[in-house]
Every structure is written in structure tokens, then in C-alpha cells.
Subunit: 326 residues, 2 copies
């Protein structure tokens, strides 16, 4: 039985979509047990697979992450993380404050010995549906070359075990594909990745090629990774917004809109990375999954599925063995 | 009379679009003189406003920038830059190798005394058509906080003189809007910009807000700036590509495509930053404009127009006075 701790009060539409996602999940799998942390008066699920744990505090989006984790001891997120630490559950899933969840991973659950910096990894869509994993998305804004090498190793193990990719390719996000491109961090990291035997490094990849599937895994520092993600999101959202305005601008375009509505929705969904689950916090001694703050029930369901898969494969033990004791 | 040196052999479609752009430009303005550097046998323009200067070498996209500038002394780009250095012309425009043009600016024309690092600045579109200037786009991948402050000062002067914006707002590209967000460089730069009296600093701006007009000027280091630009370009191009495929996928969608074709082209053009001209290399002792490598004649025309405007306002002298002697 796989036990997943869920933060009931994380995300823009919590607890509704959290509960909806859990219901979908409990219907789909019978080898799981959900440990729900939150205000029990707001839980409406009555299912043998759900264990309710009442908590009295909530971490909000405005909370300063580290302080919130330290002071709000009875927050749903903190208690859920604590259950992973105590081995009462195998994984924690939250759609709440990203910084706070990272802090909970780091200070409540703790780092894997030998991992210098945890990293937040997200699987993003590509045009051809291969998908790729981008990390770090912002856990560590000032990274060193050695950190990026650890990210590459952790993501390679994860891609093999969780996504079933044999010998996954690793690229370094850079501003050109030539070997000596980039800033000091990129150039130094390139040299280390090239010499690392345990990964399948294919060189620099440009951010304009990411959606065309440049590599299975793309590593970068947390500042750059977050910048790439937000630029990508912002550009896609704005184009779809302008497209919608264009389609509603006249009778003629409204007729056209009716004809292509379904196809356009498919296109928009293709760009929706919540289809791939949540972001994974690599390097902490337990499975921590961050669902997108604006998750709907399907996205939260996907994050739970991802937690289940990681727990089944015991990704944490694999990371411990292969990354740190070699 | 404003004299503009043009590199005939830069860009994917040179010299054709270069010559087409010049013809448009000479028709539109009678206060300009074009000094064209390149293979005179390929010039087909016969106009009193055009002076041909024959050159025998070409810098290609594959050339290593600094080496090419130093060795190919008779390259069209080098000779054009040399004419600015010798005050024979007021500005140089090229759609060629970006690195080489930056090197030509730096080593042929030279830095303005007191400017530590030149920066490449590009005006990008916004949804509401305000546009904003992003710099550095990659002239200096390893920037220091002091460099970014100089970028902000130079761009502020340029925005006032060349774009007619009174008291232009300056934002710092960051991964959150809160004051203490980001990596060490961003945090240190934030503190310096906040204390700088000569600019109108409005704080951190997130990359997802850029297309919604976050500030008139957005400063960042050359690595991040180039990463933002390429992510933006890649995302937009891929969405439009997928949209085209969707619209051609069935009879029904083809009918719709016919109805909205014109509106979609307008939307696509809105995202086209060549409408705003080329990228400007700030901090060198002359006007250097980089037109996009895939410029069409209209884009090259806009780059020439931008060079003319900068020369008319004598932006270089203003930068010298206000940035360095205060």
C-alpha cells in the first residue's frame, strides 16, 4: 500500500480541486492510501482509502516560506511533510506556496546526505509530445557547476525509473549551441558535464529549441530555469489571449471560431504542463511533489499519480544509492 | 546630411533585402546618405544618395567574432565600422554575425570612456503596442551590478531622445516582484538601482509580465536577456506553427482559416519585433545598429530609420555627457 500525504489547503482553488483530485485518484487506484492534512470540517470524502488528519493552521501564498514553516507547526503543509519525515507516508503532494514547500522539504524532511542543493524539476510539453524535464526551476537561485551536475544525475535516474526512458539525454540550457558559449557558470558546467560518465550529455541547448524536444533533461541554475518557465508561460498565455480576442472581434471571426474551437482547445491543452504532473523536489529524503497553484482536479490527479509512481519505484532510495555513494 | 554606413553582406537574405531596404529608405528620406560597403558588382542601386565602397571580404555566421574582426580587415562589416571610427559616417547598420558586430563596435569603434561594458538593447513588442526595451541581449554574459546600472542610465537617455518617452520607467528582470527576490546579481543590482537618482526605477518585473508592458526599460545580464529573448521567440514561433498545422488539418478548419487569415497575420505581425528596428549597441563611441539576421526589407528599413533617428539626436554625445561626466 502506497501512502500519500496531501496538503488540503494549497492552491488557488483549494480545498475543492484537491478533494476532487483525490476522489478521481482513489477511484483509479486501489493500492493507495491518502493521508489528508487539513480542516476536517471541510472534508467531504468518505472512503476507506482516505485517512483524515485534522490541522489548525494554513500557509498562505503571502507567507515568508522559511518563517512560515518554522512558526506554523500545525499547518497542513508542515504536518503533511512531517508524516514523510516520520515514514508514516511515502510522499507529500501540495499545490500551495512553492517556497514554503521547498522549505518544508529542506527543513522538515531534510536533504539526502551528499546532495548539496535540492532542485525543483518540472516536466514540460514539447510539440511532438515527448516532453522534457527542466531543472532547477528556482529552488537554488545561485547555483555552482557542481550543483548542476548533481541535478543532471538525479534527473537521469528519475527519467529512467519514473518515465521509462533508457539512457536519457541531458542538455545544458545555454545562449548558443557551441561548446564555449554562455556565462562563466555555463562554461564551467559544460566542462564538468562533458567529463561525467554516469550521464548521457549531449551539449548545450538553446531555449528557443526546448519546445521542439532538444533533450530529455535540461539543466540550468534556478534563476535561469524560473526565468525560462515564466517567459514560456507568459508568451503562451498572451498569444492565446490575443488569439481569443481576435476570434471574438467580428461576426466573420466568430463563425471561424465555432469551426476550430475544439482543435484550438487541443492545441492549448498541448501546452499545458500540468498534464505531466507536478514539479518534483529532487535531493530531499522523501518524495515531495508540487502541483501547480492553479491546478484543476485533473492536474492534481496527475500530481498524485506522479507521487504514486515515484513511491512505487522508490526513487528516493535510488537517488541515495546512485548519486551519493559512488 | 546624416551618413549611414551599411554592411551589404550581413543577414540571411543579403545583399537582396539590404538593397531593397536602402531603396525604400532613400525614397522616404532626403536628409540621408548611404555609404554601402560590399562587393560593388552586386550593387544594383543607382541613386545620388548612395556612395559605394568596394570591399573584398565577408564575415560569415560561422566566423569566430573577435578573430574575424582582427583578420578580415577588408570585410564589409569591418570597413563600415571603420568609417564610423573615422567620423566619415554617423552610424553603422548590419544584419550580419551579431558577435562580430559587437566586436567591431568594441575593437574598431571603441568604448565610450567610463562605460565598463557595452550592452545590446532591443525594443520588443507588447500586447498594448507600447513596446519596451530589453538589455543586455548578450553583449556581456557575465555582468556585474554596476554594469546593469549603466545599462539603465544609457537606455533611459535613449528612450527619452529616440522614443520620446518622458521619465521612462526602469524594471529589473527577476523571478519574482518582491524586493529581495532573485540571485545574488539581481539582489545586488536591485539595491544599486533603488539608490540611483538619475533613473525612474520601479522595481523587479517578472518575465511573464513583459509582453503586458511591465516597464519602458527592462535591464538584466546578457545571459539572462538572451535566454528571455530566445524563449520568447521559440514559444511564439512554435505556437504559430502549431496553429498553422491545426488550421490546415481538415476541410472545416481550412474554411475557418480562410475567414481569419488576415486577422491572424495581424496578430503574428504584432509579435514581430523587427517593426521596432534593430538592436542598438550601447556604450560604444558611435551608433551601431544590428538588424535581425532574418530581416526582410521592411525590417532593414526600420533599422536604417532607427540609425537616422539616433544620429539626428546625437545619442552618442548625450550618452557621453550624461552617463560618464557626472
Amino acid at each position: 500500500m502506497i501512502k500519500i500525504a496531501v496538503d488540503m489547503h494549497g492552491g488557488d482553488n483549494a480545498p475543492d480541486i484537491v478533494l476532487d483530485g483525490i476522489e478521481m485518484f482513489l477511484k483509479a487506484f486501489d493500492d493507495v492510501e491518502i493521508h489528508l492534512y487539513g480542516d476536517e470540517s471541510k472534508n467531504r470524502i468518505n472512503h476507506p482509502g482516505l485517512k483524515m488528519h485534522h490541522t489548525t493552521e494554513v500557509i498562505t501564498m503571502d507567507d515568508e516560506p522559511v518563517r512560515a514553516i518554522r512558526r506554523k507547526k500545525d499547518a497542513s503543509m508542515v504536518r503533511a511533510a512531517e508524516s514523510v519525515k516520520q515514514k508514516e507516508t511515502d510522499a507529500v503532494v501540495s499545490a500551495g506556496n512553492t517556497g514554503a514547500l521547498m522549505a518544508a522539504g529542506l527543513f522538515v524532511i531534510g536533504r539526502i546526505k551528499g546532495i548539496e542543493r535540492p532542485a525543483l524539476a518540472l516536466t514540460l510539453p514539447t510539440i511532438g509530445n515527448e516532453g522534457f524535464m527542466l531543472l532547477d526551476m528556482g529552488a537554488n537561485a545561485d547555483a555552482k557547476p557542481e550543483h548542476l551536475v548533481q541535478y543532471a544525475k538525479m534527473a537521469s535516474i528519475y527519467a529512467q525509473k519514473n518515465r521509462g526512458i533508457t539512457n536519457p539525454t541531458v542538455g545544458l540550457a545555454n545562449i548558443g549551441t557551441e561548446d564555449k558559449k554562455g556565462n562563466q557558470l555555463a562554461r564551467d558546467t559544460f566542462n564538468l558535464l562533458k567529463e561525467e560518465p554516469s550521464i548521457n550529455f549531449i551539449g548545450n541547448v538553446e531555449s528557443k529549441a526546448l519546445l521542439n524536444y532538444a533533450a530529455d533533461i535540461v539543466v540550468t541554475d534556478g534563476f535561469t530555469g524560473n526565468m525560462i518557465l515564466k517567459t514560456l508561460e507568459g508568451t503562451a498565455n498572451n498569444i492565446f489571449k490575443m488569439l481569443k480576442e481576435t476570434l471574438l472581434s467580428s461576426t466573420k471571426t466568430k463563425i471561424a471560431a465555432g469551426l476550430i474551437k475544439k482543435d484550438l482547445m487541443q492545441l492549448k491543452n498541448k501546452m499545458d504542463y500540468s498534464e505531466y504532473g507536478g514539479a518534483v523536489l529532487f535531493g530531499v529524503d522523501g518524495i515531495v511533489i508540487k502541483a501547480h497553484g492553479s491546478s484543476d482536479k485533473k492536474a492534481f490527479f496527475n500530481a498524485l499519480k506522479q507521487a504514486r509512481q515515484s513511491a512505487k519505484e522508490d526513487v528516493t532510495s535510488l537517488l541515495k544509492q546512485e548519486v551519493t555513494h559512488e
